[in-house]
Symmetry: C2
Subunit: 402 residues, 2 copies
C-alpha cells in the first residue's frame, strides 16, 4: 500500500516516523508493507533523508494510481477541503486529523467516499491517540448511547490544573502553557472553546448519524474562570474542567461546551482526576453504564498513532464501512439548557436570603470573603436562570458532575 | 441472523434482554434483524415469555443451519469446550464470555474457526463491558505494545476499597462483598487471583500472538493483605490494588498477578483512583504512551453488552479475521521478577539499620508501632529478594506504580 502525507507538520511528520519506526509490526498486522510514496508540503526539507519523496503539486499525488491512501494532516479548511474532495473523488481513502474539516464537511465527504468506493476516516480528530471513534461506533454497538462527556482539550486542562494545583491565575497558567508549547500564541481556539466544540460536534454527529452543527452548540471557554472559582470548586470537593457534552434524546442531541465542577475528592467522578494535558472521554450506554477512555489527547506521536491505526484498518479491511458516518441533516439538536442537574452558585453574602427564598431548598457550602456558595436542587438551567434573575448579587454558576 | 444462547445464567439472560431491549438500534447497525432462535439450559424456565425457544439438546442447535452464531455463556470448561468445538466445526461463529475457556483453549478454537470459515470472539471475557480486545488489537495497531496493566477483578477491588476507605478488615470486607453478591460463596477464584490470571493471560496472548499459559504466571491474591498494609499504602500516598500485568520484551511476556501499591494522591497513577467494582486497564504503546480504559468489569448487562458488541461485529463483517487470535506456541514468557521498579518494604524497626546497609540508598517513609516503611531504589524483584534475604524482620514488600 502506498500512502501520501499531505502536510508535513507535527502530526504529518509523526505519521512518517511511526510508519518507519514500527514498520515490522505494521506490515505484520496489515499483511503487506505500507510505504510513504509522497509527502506534500509547501516548505522545503533539504536535509530530510528521503527528500526525493517531497512534492509541492497535489496533482502528482492525485494522478498516481498507486497511492491508495491520502493522509491529510495540513489543518485548516481551504486547501484541505479541496484536496480531500479531489482525493475521494479519485477513489483514494482519506485519513485525517483535521477536526475542523471533519466537523464542517464530514457529511459531504462520507457521501463522496461512498459514491467512489473509498473511505473518510478521522480517529485522530478527537482525543489524539485515545481510541474513541471505533469503540464508540463498534464496541458499544449493543448500546443506545445516552451521553458523551469529555475533557477533550489538553491545553485548557493543563491551564485549569495549574490554577487548581499551583494556585496560578488564568493569565500566568496560560503563559506557562505557551512556554511549554501546549498553547499557541493565539490561544483563542483552545481557551474560548472552539476546539472542544468541533470535537464534541464530531462525537455527537457520529452517535446521532446526523450532522450536529457547531453553530448549534452554545460554547463557553475558560477565560472567565478566576482563581476564586477554582478555590470554591476545591472547597466543594470538585475541580473545574472544561467539558464538551452531548446528551441524546429522541433522535436529537443537546450539546454544550462549558466549564463545570466535577467531583474530584472521595467518590470521584471518572473525569474528576484527569489532569494536565491528558484527555478523558466518558460514554454512558443504556446497557454498559459508564465507560471512560483516557490518554494523551494531543501531541505528535499519540495523534499520529491514531492516524496510523486508521491506515492499518483500511489496509486490512478495504471495503467501505458506513458505521462512522453521518448525513447532512439539519435541525438535529435541542437546547442543552433543558438538561437538569445540580448547580453550584456563588453569590454575594448579602444575596443569600434572596437565594434561599428563590430556591426553597439550597445546600450552603460556605461563606467566605463576603461571598456565599451553595448547591441548588436538581433542575434545568433554564429554570436556574429564571430563579437567579430574581436575585441581586449572583457572581457565577456552574453545573456539578458527581 | 439467528443466534443460539448456550447457558441462560446472568450473562446469557443479559444477552437475551439486550437483543430485545435495543432491538431497533442493533438491527439498524447490523443491516438485518438478530433473533434468538434457541436458548439451551439444563434448567426449566416455565414462566419465560418465549419458553418455546428453550431446548436441552445441543444437537438441535448444531443441526439447524439457520443458526449462524452460538453465544456461549455457560462458564466452566467441560461442556463449554465440547459445545464450542462442535459449533465451530459446524461453521458457526462462537462468541463467549468464558475467560477460563479462552485462556486455556483459545488457540485451539482460533485454529478450528479458521479452518471452518467462522470466528471465535471473546470481548466479554476481559473487563466486562469495557471495550479492550478490539481497541488493543485494532485501534492501537500503530504501536508496539510495551505493557498492559489492569485492575480486572471487581470483587477484589471492592474489598480493597472497603479496607482503604472503610478501615475494614479483609474478612469483613469479603463478607460485605458476599452479601452484595459481588463475591461468591467460595471466593477463591477472585481473592486468590485465578480470575485475574486468566484475564491477563488472554490480553498477553493477544498482544504476543502466542499463547501465554496461566501456569507460567506467578499469581498472588489479596488474602495476605492486612489493614496495616493498606494503612502503610495510604501513608505513602498510594492504595493497594490487585494488578494483572504483562510486559512485552523481545517477543516474550513477563506476566504477573500480585497486589501492588499504586499512587492515588497528587499526581496519581491512572489506575490509582479506580474504586469499588470498577475495572481499569492501562495500555502503554511505544507511540501513544499511556491509554486507559475504564468501566464496569462485571455484571449482567455490561458483560452482555460486550457479547452483543461481538454479535454486531460478526453480522456486519462476517469474514474471518485473524487479528484477535494467537497460536499454541509454548515457552512464551520470561520471569516477571526480572522487571525493575521501586518497591515499598515494611520491616521491624529493629531491622532498619540492616536495611540501610543492604540498600545503601533507601527513602524512609515513617516509623510506626515498632515498624518502619521505606522505598527502595529502582531494581529487579530478584535483586530485592536477594538483599531482603540478608535482613531479619522483613514483614512485607510491594511494587510501587506511580
Amino acid at each position: 500500500m502506498k500512502v501520501a502525507i499531505i502536510g508535513y507538520g507535527v502530526v504529518g511528520s509523526g505519521v512518517y516516523d511511526i510508519l518507519k519506526e514500527n514498520r515490522g509490526g505494521i506490515e505484520r498486522r496489515c499483511g503487506q508493507s505500507v510505504d510513504v510514496k509522497y509527502v506534500l508540503d509547501i516548505r522545503d526539507f533539504p536535509d530530510h533523508p528521503e527528500r526525493e519523496i517531497f512534492v509541492k503539486d497535489f496533482d502528482v499525488v492525485l494522478s498516481d494510481p498507486e497511492v491508495g491512501i491520502v493522509v491529510e494532516t495540513m489543518g485548516g479548511v481551504r486547501f484541505a477541503y479541496d484536496y480531500t474532495k479531489r482525493a475521494l473523488e479519485a477513489g483514494k481513502t482519506v485519513i485525517t486529523s483535521n477536526k475542523e474539516l471533519v466537523a464542517r464537511y464530514g457529511h459531504e465527504f462520507f457521501e463522496i467516499a461512498e459514491r467512489h468506493g473509498c473511505r473518510y476516516l478521522f480517529e485522530a480528530s478527537v482525543g489524539g491517540g485515545i481510541p474513541i471513534i471505533r469503540p464508540l461506533a463498534r464496541c458499544l454497538a449493543a448500546n443506545e448511547i445516552e451521553s458523551v462527556t469529555g475533557i477533550i482539550n489538553g491545553t485548557t486542562n493543563y491551564i485549569l490544573t495549574k490554577m487548581y494545583r499551583g494556585g496560578q491565575s488564568f493569565d500566568d497558567a496560560l503563559r506557562k502553557a505557551q512556554e511549554l508549547g501546549y498553547a499557541e500564541k493565539d490561544p483563542a481556539a483552545d481557551v474560548d472553546g472552539a476546539d472542544v466544540c468541533r470535537k464534541i460536534a464530531i462525537l455527537a454527529s457520529m452517535v446521532l448519524g446526523k450532522r450536529v452543527d457547531c453553530a448549534d452548540i452554545p460554547t463557553k471557554g475558560i477565560r472567565g474562570i478566576s482563581t476564586a472559582d477554582v478555590e470554591w470548586a476545591e472547597r466543594a470537593g470538585c475541580s473545574v474542567k472544561l467539558l464538551g457534552r452531548a446528551v441524546f434524546r429522541n433522535g436529537r442531541a443537546g450539546v454544550s461546551v462549558e466549564p463545570a465542577m466535577v467531583q474530584t475528592a472521595g467518590n470521584a467522578h471518572p473525569l474528576g482526576n484527569i489532569w494536565d494535558v491528558y484527555n478523558g472521554i466518558l460514554v454512558e450506554g443504556n446497557m454498559v453504564g459508564r465507560v471512560m477512555f483516557y490518554g494523551r489527547g494531543a501531541g505528535k506521536l499519540p495523534t499520529a498513532s491514531a492516524v496510523v491505526g486508521d491506515i492499518v484498518d483500511v489496509v486490512r479491511q478495504p471495503g467501505h464501512s458506513g458505521e462512522f458516518s453521518w448525513t447532512g441533516a439539519s435541525d438535529t439538536t435541542f437546547d442543552p439548557a433543558e438538561l437538569e442537574s445540580e448547580f453550584f452558585v456563588r453569590v454575594k453574602e448579602t444575596a443569600l436570603p434572596a437565594a434561599e427564598k428563590a430556591f426553597a431548598d439550597i445546600k450552603l457550602l460556605a461563606k467566605k470573603d463576603g461571598e456565599a456558595g451553595f448547591f441548588t436542587p436538581v433542575m434545568s438551567e433554564t429554570e436556574i436562570n429564571k430563579r437567579l434573575s430574581e436575585i441581586d448579587g449572583v457572581i457565577n454558576k456552574m453545573r456539578i458532575y458527581r
